[in-house]
């Protein structure tokens, strides 16, 4: 019996030791957190799922990818307001006289998370990648070329003058020239990827070598919670510390909770409902205008979005360069019906109305209801976001709804990127508009550009390329322990300065 007893004793001793070890470990971890008592861990429920970490490809302009990119990579410059920029990787920049050639000097001390320095070769490779992949951003850079000029200087030239380049570059992120693993990419941003499950969760750790100083957070998780109710519950229970794009209807329940802080951004988004001009019957501007006229948007906006919505009067928001107020489209069903009859609208045709995010559910239902009153059949179809994006680019819809922001607060990244014939985003092609946009994109005089974009705005609005019913402000709700967070104006929060305080 002796050997058995001995063995048992050894097992017991090992078990005791390992338990003691575990306890010891957890005490040390607990004691070593910055700030002493609160773990510096932040869980964020991202508004849209993060499907992809590639900041150059098809989903480059998705909010999820943009949010992730801001944390993992660095851009050359970032927007701080309308027409104001701040260097990120670029230390300084200089356009030539007619803005066809921009010279960027890179910061000297920046390295990627794998320790290699960020060089002009990486910037050029990233830029070329955007052009090659022909993704959502590529049409920003038609006729552009990036060249290195020494290890720390990049020159971006364009065929036509491009004074809006800085605005466009605010969503252009630099990755190493030799990047291979896009599920665990190397970047030079404040965080590095620890684990990524597409569409579900992105776990980030601080980048100790970040040039702007190592972030206070020890762990940052961006989680995708599709269900609004689940997202709000997670916020109330403290499972999630921060989220944004909170629906108006959820506000009363959240405001009652004293642990939560509600903030609103200035708003840069426009609810944009493109009508597919290449679809049957929708090529006629009179039809598109009539459909727009048939929907009582003022009532829908004030009923569904009392906190965050306001009726739009332009294709871009007032804080964007290129904004110009347009004549409101007056709700008049009789006139709409008459115009449709005159244009020979086929009332048996069903308009497929695609959307992805749940906050559009009631909006689309209300639009369908108003159009049904004059006999136009609309079928709202909710799609999973990857399918939605694929169908959107393939023009596999008649009516589409999404929230569009204007990166860099410059119409060049919105009107100039989306409404050209070459972009083929909504089947609309107008050579006059193309000329205007090309001219506006290549004029360096700000006043002249404003004037040209105002004209473009008018064409898009009057031709009813889409319906533009509402400006959106975004509600940000965070736990009050989250500190150092500034509400972003472009829906992409920066977590590098965030820390977790006590209760205060």
């Amino acid at each position: 019996m002796r050997p058995i007893r001995l063995r048992r004793a050894v097992v017991l001793a090992t078990a005791t030791l390992s338990i003691a070890g575990l306890v010891g470990c957890s005490t040390t971890t607990g004691g070593s957190t910055a700030g002493g008592d609160v773990p510096q861990e932040l869980v964020v429920a991202a508004w849209t799922p993060i499907e992809n970490l590639d900041p150059h490809g098809a989903s480059a302009m998705d909010n999820g990818t943009q949010v992730a990119a801001k944390a993992i990579y660095s851009a050359l410059v970032r927007t701080v307001g309308k027409g104001q920029f701040e260097g990120v990787l670029a230390e300084s920049w200089q356009p030539n006289e007619d803005a066809t050639e921009w010279t960027f000097r890179l910061r000297g001390n920046v390295t990627f998370s794998d320790g290699k320095p960020v060089t002009s070769a990486d910037v050029v490779a990233s830029f070329n990648r955007v052009l090659e992949l022909k993704g959502a951003m590529a049409s920003n850079y038609a006729g552009h070329e990036a060249k290195e000029s020494g290890a720390d200087t990049v020159v971006i030239t364009s065929k036509d003058p491009d004074p809006a380049l800085l605005g466009k570059l605010s969503t252009f992120y630099v990755t190493p020239a030799a990047q291979e693993k896009w599920d665990k990419p190397v970047g030079s941003g404040p965080f590095v990827v620890e684990r990524f499950t597409p569409g579900q969760s992105l776990v980030l750790a601080p980048n100790p070598g970040y040039w702007g100083g190592k972030p206070a957070l020890r762990r940052l998780e961006l989680r995708s919670i599709g269900e609004t109710a689940a997202r709000m519950t997670a916020l109330k229970t403290g499972e999630v510390d921060l989220t944004w794009a909170v629906p108006d209807d959820q506000l009363p329940g959240l405001q009652a909770n004293s642990d939560l802080v509600v903030e609103k951004d200035q708003g840069n988004g426009v609810i944009t409902m493109w009508m597919n001009s290449s679809a049957k019957g929708l090529g006629d501007p009179a039809v598109r205008r009539a459909l727009w006229q048939a929907v009582d948007f003022p009532t829908i906006v004030t009923s569904l979005f009392p906190e965050t919505g306001s009726v739009a009067d332009s294709v871009v928001t007032p804080n964007v360069l290129g904004y110009a107020p347009q004549t409101p489209v007056k709700y008049d069903q009789a006139a709409a019906k008459a115009a449709l009859d005159k244009a020979g609208w086929d009332y048996d045709q069903t308009i497929r109305f695609q959307f992805s995010q749940p906050q559009f559910q009631q909006f689309t239902d209300a639009v369908a209801s108003d159009l049904a009153k004059i006999g136009v059949k609309v079928e709202p179809i909710q799609k999973e976001s990857a399918v939605f994006l694929q169908d959107l680019l393939a023009l596999n819809w008649e009516l589409n709804i999404q929230q569009l922001g204007t990166a860099g607060f410059d119409a060049a990244t919105n009107l100039g990127r989306l409404y050209t014939c070459a972009a083929k985003r909504m089947g609309y092609c107008n050579e006059d508009l193309d000329k205007l946009l090309a001219e506006a994109g290549s004029t360096s005089d700000t006043a002249k550009r404003q004037e040209l974009y105002a004209q473009a705005n008018k064409i898009i609005w009057d031709d009813a390329v889409g319906m533009y019913p509402m400006y959106v402000r975004t509600l940000y709700v965070r736990n009050k322990s989250v500190q150092g967070f500034t509400v972003p104006q472009d829906l992409t929060p920066d977590f590098s300065k965030v820390r977790i305080g006590g209760d205060g």
Partner: protein, 288 residues
């Protein structure tokens, strides 16, 4: 058949088996049927028409145009009463269609398997085993997900695995019926097999199968609501309680009536069907 009434139960049976409870359940069911049949004629409801100015009105509130929203409105301003009444019709139609399909298929295959025995029985029984090994609702989700949304697809999806219970019951009963004297006699005097099955087997199988049909009805109604809740069931142009419950889940703490009312209606229908089914099983059923 009447001798087989004693069954061991794990819980007190008084509530489930008294005729009074069964009568009450039958009355409740009759009300649902009446609402489903007549209600939609009296209370018009258009699932496409919304009225966002009247959204989220509580029970008994008055709309902007002065009409009464008896049971409130949902997040898009649609009338809750209308949705409940029209949803009742949808639930009953789906439940009846699914049960009818399952009953027809299950009864046919089950009696064939039981009566013919041999390879027919082996083939049908193995098919039943295969389907039993697969969770029914999962199969329904896969089928409903593959096709475009529609009433027919939902009925098909729920019937694919639903007939199995009927077939098993019918087969078991037939196995014991085929050796009864009157069946032997019929066979001996040369009555053709189909006639034997229809005239001498099915009349004795139909009772227990009907009892089973009631519980299957409740299951079908619940499954349809489940599919619609997941967005895989009926298209939004057809009112379904499952959809209404799903629509209200964002408003559970502010506008509880959107999810709670159809939930209660569903519970009432399923519970009373179950109680009636239990009673029928005791009256008509045999040990399954």
């Amino acid at each position: 058949m009447s001798a087989i009434t004693v069954r061991t139960r794990l819980w007190p049976v008084r509530l489930r088996s008294t005729p009074a409870v069964a009568t009450a359940a039958a009355v409740v069911l009759a009300c649902y049927l009446l609402v489903g049949l007549v209600g939609p004629l009296l209370i018009p409801y258009d699932p496409v028409a919304t009225s966002v100015a009247d959204r989220l009105l509580p029970i008994g509130a008055v709309r902007q145009d002065g009409t009464l929203a008896l049971l409130g409105t949902d997040g898009a301003g649609r009338d809750m009463l209308g949705q409940l009444v029209h949803g009742a019709r949808t639930s009953i139609v789906i439940g009846v269609s699914v049960v009818a399909t399952c009953l027809a298929v299950g009864l046919a295959l089950g009696t064939l398997a039981g009566y013919l025995a041999g390879w027919t029985d082996v083939a049908i029984s193995r098919l039943i085993d295969v389907l039993m090994a697969f969770p029914g609702i999962l199969l329904a989700i896969v089928i409903a997900g593959l096709f475009d949304q529609g009433m027919l697809v939902v009925v098909l999806a729920l019937s694919v695995a639903g007939w199995v219970a009927f077939a098993r019951l019918a087969r078991g009963l037939t196995l014991s019926l085929r050796v009864r004297p009157w069946v032997d006699a019929a066979r001996l005097i040369g009555v053709p097999t189909p006639v034997v099955i229809v005239r001498h087997i099915i009349p004795f199988v139909i009772g227990p199968v009907t009892a089973l049909a009631t519980t299957e009805f409740a299951g079908a109604v619940l499954s349809e609501a489940g599919l619609s809740f997941l967005g895989l069931g009926l298209p939004s142009s057809t009112v379904s309680w499952g959809q209404v419950i799903a629509n209200g889940k964002d408003y559970l703490d502010t506008a509880w009536w959107i999810s709670a009312l159809p939930g209660l209606a569903l519970t009432g229908l399923v519970v009373s069907t179950g109680l009636l089914g239990d009673h029928l099983t005791q009256r008509l059923g045999s040990s399954r």
